[in-house]
Amino acid sequence: MSQRAAVAVAGCLIAALTVRCRGGNEAAERPGPTPAPNLATAQKLSPVTLPDLTPLAEPVQRQVRARYASLSHLLDDPSASAADRASEYGALGHLMLAAKFFDEAAACYLHAESLAPADMRWPYYLGHAYLRNGDRARAEVSFTRALALQPAYVPALIWLADTYLDEGRTEAAQDTFTRALSAQPGSAAALFGAGRAALARQDYRNAAQYMERALAADPQASAIRYPLAMAYRAIGQRDKAETLLKERGASPPALPDPVLQESEVVLESAVSYEDRGLQALRSQQWQAAADAFRKGLEVAPGDTSLRYWLGTALYVSGDPTGAEREFQTVVRDAPTFARAHFSLGAI
């Protein structure tokens, strides 16, 4: 990294406290050896800059700045490999993505991809950044690039197929869901997707078949039942439809996605820890849930919601005394928190 760029990044860290900061110029921000030509490098790379962070919670601001400083430090280290630099860009991208700074996240992933063009993770994350930003065209291109590097990665196939389906390209969606099924025949998410594509094409019999298989593959995926009922209704099997409607639910099929999971950093905010804890609760991982709520309370000690959930996690993990203590604190701090009163009363 040139001295000029280093100064720019350092200045950025200070200026980012109050105003949007433009980073070093493009050449300075693109470290490492020249990557192999691909779409990321063919298009102009934007410098990675920090947005105005002031609307964010203070711990999140600190977290983002620390990650940005770490990136700057690494870029300044001539011994750092391109892969290391890509990872550091990616780590900042993950934070930006979690904080919903989608443009900045995309810029980070583009840099990462240019540094490590053979790593499918970067175009895959980039696709998610674009998708969340509402840019489906670029998301499609990015997912396609990721799939060129890892053709059988089922979650990428499903996300790509879903973007096709959103656009009304039902044949392309069907083909892509079929590719996913070739790679993983028992994927409930792929079967459900193929069923939805068939439903959109008014191919009700195939829709019913795919969705039946999806439900068999993942019986807890209760959201399948409603569209499956619609398929049965359309082919005149109203009894089946009625039964399914009574059993409808809101859980979509599971889509295990280790790559995306890797990107899910926990922002240092009460909401983020609460999300993490609630996910653990849903998965019946009581201890992990309690840990997440405790970490959240370290960030926001006065947060009654987190404390309420901590009480809940403690109760279900077999610690009613601990739960009662937390609920007592909640009703003392927030006397109108009705559910805490209810839970306390229940105990």
């Binding site: 609307p55 964010l56 919670a57 203070e58 711990p59 999140v60 979690a98 904080a99 919903k100 989608f102 998708l131 969340r132 930003n133 509402g134 840019d135 389906l165 959103d166 656009e167 009304g168 039902t170 998410a189 459900f192 959109a200 094409r201 807890q220 209760s222 959201a223 039942r225 409603y226 009922a229 619609m230 359309a234 439809a241 009625e242 639910g249 809101a250 859980s251 979509p252 599971a254 889509l255 995306l260 922002l267 909401v271 609460e274 999300d275 609630l278 996910q279 609760l281 849903r282 998965s283 019946q284 009654t304 919601s305 279900v316 993990s317 109108t336 559910r339 209810f342 229940a346 105990i347």
Partner: protein, 609 residues
């Protein structure tokens, strides 16, 4: 319609269940399964794609080639909505306002009522109170002048002070209907904290009859309401859609994942039951919510549309609920209703997902003789298009028919089926505005309410839709937090204009410059005894060339708003005076052999054949 989970929401704890069974008592969205894929799918607005149009829509003379032009200010409408925001993110500040088009003085043109907010809580407002504006909604009288050469001079006069309409509370929406069959259209105002009924005295003034009418609901949060004669007794009944159990005193702060404060999702508060009132005569209502069966199921209601959805001749109604299943209440002909939304295919999204349903309208967009449904939704969900098979059973076809993809970047509110180019096919307008703050937009210090989005115009091309927003005029470039929208022929030139009510923004008067280039018939449908607009009446326009066009008289639909009750039917290039069949709400059917084109005709029940 929220993305944010409220803090302090929602788990039930029971000592009777062990950990393994706890899933069943979670009341979290998504229950016991990670909902990662869905939760990740949030989007921001993006510029619309430019779609090539299939053929030209001709611009009217003097219209600078624009299909719609905002003429609010030059017509004397200076209304600016005040939402009372103080930085505390109170829920009501993102939900209003609605607007109504109705001819309150029976002079033959549409007047306008727009709902106003007020300060919420005791904080300091982040927005200036509109200069010179007294609290409460505004009634504008339409003083349309049509010159001998056909030129129209549009002017509205603020007649609020002399009207006697004094709203109490924070205004949300408005419904219109003649509750006492005296030939003068009355006004029902929904609000956060209080709903009010105003009887039109027939002399330019209104009287608050909330209590005596039996429709007073002093602790409610009503949004959309609809008048319809569900029991065929000749008197307009009333459905009032209520939203959340919410009070400022128990407001729960909500935050985004990065810790920025924001508005909550509706599940944080829970739904407030809606009400169905039966008009027992002369504008006195009794609450039949329980007796009718409507109390059995309810959600956070935001939109309502009344129509005969199953073709049995009786009026049904659809309720759009925010992040909960919709209801389709089918009339049982005995004063009761049964919710068939699930079996009918209109309760949920095509993947079985609960959508944030907001505005709604029913109309026969495919000209097959039944009422289809269009529902506006949250950003990244895509608007819903439910196609009726004629029996009250629907297929969600938004993807197949070109609606879903263009609507994904937007959060929609007011909407209607309306044939803006008078080609005989019902088009769509959805007015949009976000409900969650985008963390990037928080940097826009000059805008304390950064929820603006563009509105969307879809043109119906033989039953499929193309996004023609980019060609509709400069007014469609605006980025505003639009909520209510009322549709009607404001300048009586034979095409449908639109009033758009913006949250914390100006009222827009979108005058249609293209529809009157095609031929049309306009119908006012009046009762035999009552001389009131017979909302709910269905009209079949039969032509020797082209399919029969089915339309209906209605004032409801959209979001928190009330439309022109007249029926305007586009005929394209045809000058043939069509045969018209009317099916009145009573079930009686009559025909008129030849209805003149390019003018309004009043059809009175009992005078046809």
């Amino acid at each position: 319609m929220r993305r944010l989970r409220g803090r302090g929401a929602a788990i039930k704890l029971s000592l009777r269940v062990g950990p393994a069974a706890l899933c069943s008592v979670f009341v979290l969205a998504g229950a016991c399964r990670p909902d990662q894929k869905t939760a990740d799918r949030t989007d921001r607005p993006q510029p619309l794609d430019t779609h090539a149009a299939t053929d030209a829509v001709r611009a009217g003379p003097g219209a600078s080639g624009e299909w719609f032009t905002d003429r609010a200010q030059e017509a004397g409408i200076d209304f600016v909505h005040f939402n009372g925001m103080s930085g505390k993110f109170y829920q009501p500040e993102i939900m209003g306002p609605g607007v109504a088009l109705f001819d309150y003085d029976n002079d033959g043109d549409l007047d306008l009522y727009v709902v106003q907010g007020q300060m919420l809580g005791t904080g300091q407002s982040l927005l200036p109170l509109p200069a010179g504006d007294s609290p409460g909604g505004r009634l504008y009288r339409n003083d349309l002048e049509i010159k001998p050469d056909g030129t129209r001079v549009l002017h509205f006069t603020d007649v609020t002070k002399q009207s006697g309409i004094v709203p109490r509370g924070y205004g949300m929406g408005v419904a219109t209907g003649d509750i006492d069959n005296d030939g003068w259209i009355d006004l029902y105002l929904t609000g956060f904290g209080r709903n009010q009924m105003f009887r039109n005295n027939g002399n330019g003034t209104f009287t608050d009859v909330s209590k005596t009418s039996g429709t007073d609901d002093p602790a409610s949060w009503g949004v959309s309401a609809a008048f319809f004669d569900f029991d065929r007794d000749g008197w307009l009944d009333l459905f009032v859609g209520n939203y959340l159990n919410y009070k400022l005193q128990t407001h729960i702060p909500c935050f985004g994942p990065s810790g920025a404060p924001d508005y909550c999702r509706p599940s944080v508060y829970g739904a407030q039951p809606s009400h169905l009132y039966r008009n027992t005569g002369k504008g006195r209502f009794v609450d039949v919510t329980i007796a009718s069966g409507v109390a059995r199921e309810f959600g956070p209601a935001l939109g309502v549309s009344t129509a005969d959805f199953n073709g049995d001749g009786w009026l049904d109604f659809f309720v759009a609920n925010d992040e909960q299943e919709n209801q389709l209440w089918i009339n049982q002909h005995d004063g009761t209703f049964v919710n068939t939304a699930l079996a009918a295919g209109v309760a949920l999204g095509p993947s079985g997902e609960r959508k944030a349903n907001m505005g709604v309208d029913a109309g026969d967009f495919d000209n097959d003789g039944d009422e289809d449904l269009f529902v506006t939704e949250l950003i990244a969900q895509g608007s819903s298009l439910f196609v009726n098979d004629g029996s009250g059973s629907f297929e969600e076809a938004s993807t197949r028919l070109g609606i879903r993809h263009p609507s994904l970047p937007y959060t929609g509110f007011g909407t209607a089926w309306f044939d803006f180019d008078n080609d005989g096919w019902l088009d769509l307008l959805a007015v949009n505005g976000d409900v969650n703050q985008n963390v990037k937009d928080l940097n826009r210090r000059d805008d304390p309410f950064p929820l603006g989005q563009r509105n969307l115009l879809f043109r119906n091309v033989g039953g499929r839709f193309e996004d023609v927003t980019n060609r509709a005029g400069k007014i469609f470039d605006l980025v505003e937090a639009s909520r209510g929208a009322a549709f009607g022929d404001i300048d009586n030139d034979g095409d449908v204009d639109v009033v758009v009510a913006n949250d914390a923004g100006r009222l827009r008067l979108l005058i249609n410059n293209v529809g009157s280039n095609s031929h049309w018939i306009g119908l006012r449908l009046l009762g035999s005894q009552t001389k009131r607009d017979m909302v709910g009446a269905r009209v079949a326009v039969m032509r020797s060339s082209g399919p029969t066009l089915w339309r209906r008289a209605r004032a409801d639909g959209s979001y928190a708003s009330a439309n022109d009750p007249r029926v305007l039917v586009g005929l394209g290039a045809s000058t043939e005076a069509p045969r018209v069949r009317v099916i009145w709400p009573s079930g009686r059917a009559e025909e008129w052999a030849s209805v003149p084109v390019d003018r309004y005709t009043t059809l009175v029940e009992g005078t046809g054949k």
